[in-house]
Symmetry: C2
Subunit: 297 residues, 2 copies
Amino acid sequence: MPSNSDNKTFFLGIDGGGSKCKAIIVDENNTILGTGISGPANPLHGFEQAINSITESAELALKDAGLTSTQLQDITAGVGLAGVNLPILFEQMSNWQHPFKQMFLATDLLIACLGAHNGEDGAVMITGTGSCGFSYVDGHPYTLGGHGFPHGDKGSGAWFGFQAANYALMSLDGLKAPSRINEKLLALLDVNDGLSMVETIAGKPAAFYAKMANLVFDTAEEGDQVAKAIVEEGAGYISGVARQLEKQQPPRISLIGGLTPRIKPWLDKDIQEKLQEPLCPPEMGAVIFAKQQLALQ
Amino acid sequence: MPSNSDNKTFFLGIDGGGSKCKAIIVDENNTILGTGISGPANPLHGFEQAINSITESAELALKDAGLTSTQLQDITAGVGLAGVNLPILFEQMSNWQHPFKQMFLATDLLIACLGAHNGEDGAVMITGTGSCGFSYVDGHPYTLGGHGFPHGDKGSGAWFGFQAANYALMSLDGLKAPSRINEKLLALLDVNDGLSMVETIAGKPAAFYAKMANLVFDTAEEGDQVAKAIVEEGAGYISGVARQLEKQQPPRISLIGGLTPRIKPWLDKDIQEKLQEPLCPPEMGAVIFAKQQLALQ
């Protein structure tokens, strides 16, 4: 085993998603010494790209920490990745000749949940570009939704944007009542009519639609009935996810993801009251996961 | 100009869509002498493929008619194509060094409408894989919907299938009430659970979802409340399209496309009563268009 002249034990935590990969390096007390960020790391969209992003973010974190005499091969890594819920990708990533001392692989959902509850049992609802529910209680992982865009992921940023575009196109045809969504969406997309809107949105991925989500919440908060109905339907789904997760009896439940501040006020009041702030980010959840797995060895 | 030893004037009518291209050859009285069918002819999905399909279907129709001494260059063609509502594709197709004596190019919507009303003014609602409304009154074409999948085309086969898959995934998660749609969809897709369903449907095009549409109507007709709600929403949209088209005061209105027999009984009663049988198929509409354009020369 190579010497570690920094003379301490460090851990890497990796949170790899579809658009970026975050890394942290921590000491034995989980004090963050450095961070790194790189590109997409979902192996579903390319194995080579994923492993390159993971390695790059880890190297950047190491450099940021100023640990000049420490190498990746000296460090145990917890790696949480989108996509590895699919068994074939989990196996492929597990077989990677990784540069770390040891690698513990988990889904992005598990590390998010472990992070939010600092390694204890709990549940999370994630609403960002996509949406998903997940609980981890007594070693039992349970996933709800997260089926992807456009056929699933209700209550996600992409879903809100999609509903808005869908409505606006019918409304501009005179087939639905006017909504302030229409003018705002035309302005955001920099187009003049429905036909140009179609040319702009056709075939676009979830991330494109997710950029329209704030507009829907803004319009709902101004009192527009159409926007309110869309927001209430999406938030109602997330409240439903929370209720379903509660059946697993998680000690804590948190809402995380980029849409959190927008959607939280629209959830059912009793759900809002039960929500607890996430304690740590997913990349720290990855560190916690690695330490838990080490303790089991 | 080459001689035409069959000593008669013939016309070709072409209806080119995203999955197939139909051709008919007719005499001066629009008596059908032969038919041909070939592959996809929407230039949006490939110019070369489109022109090859058009030529192939025309050659097949000529052969079917037994007109051995007549060539494509002896015949005037009316060509109605999906995709040429986009100006750039209309121009590209217009510049095609086509094999016909003369070619008159129109959208698939216009030839469908001209066919349905035998060249007279009127309106059509089309519900097949996609959905669209179109009227042609006093030389004025008017299009409603037809925005494409998945962001538009409500009330189309693809839309019904998409709604069913969407519902089933949430219902199998326990987030919506059970529906007979669930079991039927799992059986149709030959999968056992929601996760396998997602793997099967993710990224699929409109034509894939359209194959699930009959299942939704079957289930609605058995009295399933969820399926009924989906069918009523989709049919309600098509009724709305009809009402909007009526503002153009078309003398006749018809419902055409593969979903016609399923959706017609679910339209608003007053709309059902106003529907008139289409008089001719779209490929005959293409012939009528060519003859109308010739008369204007």
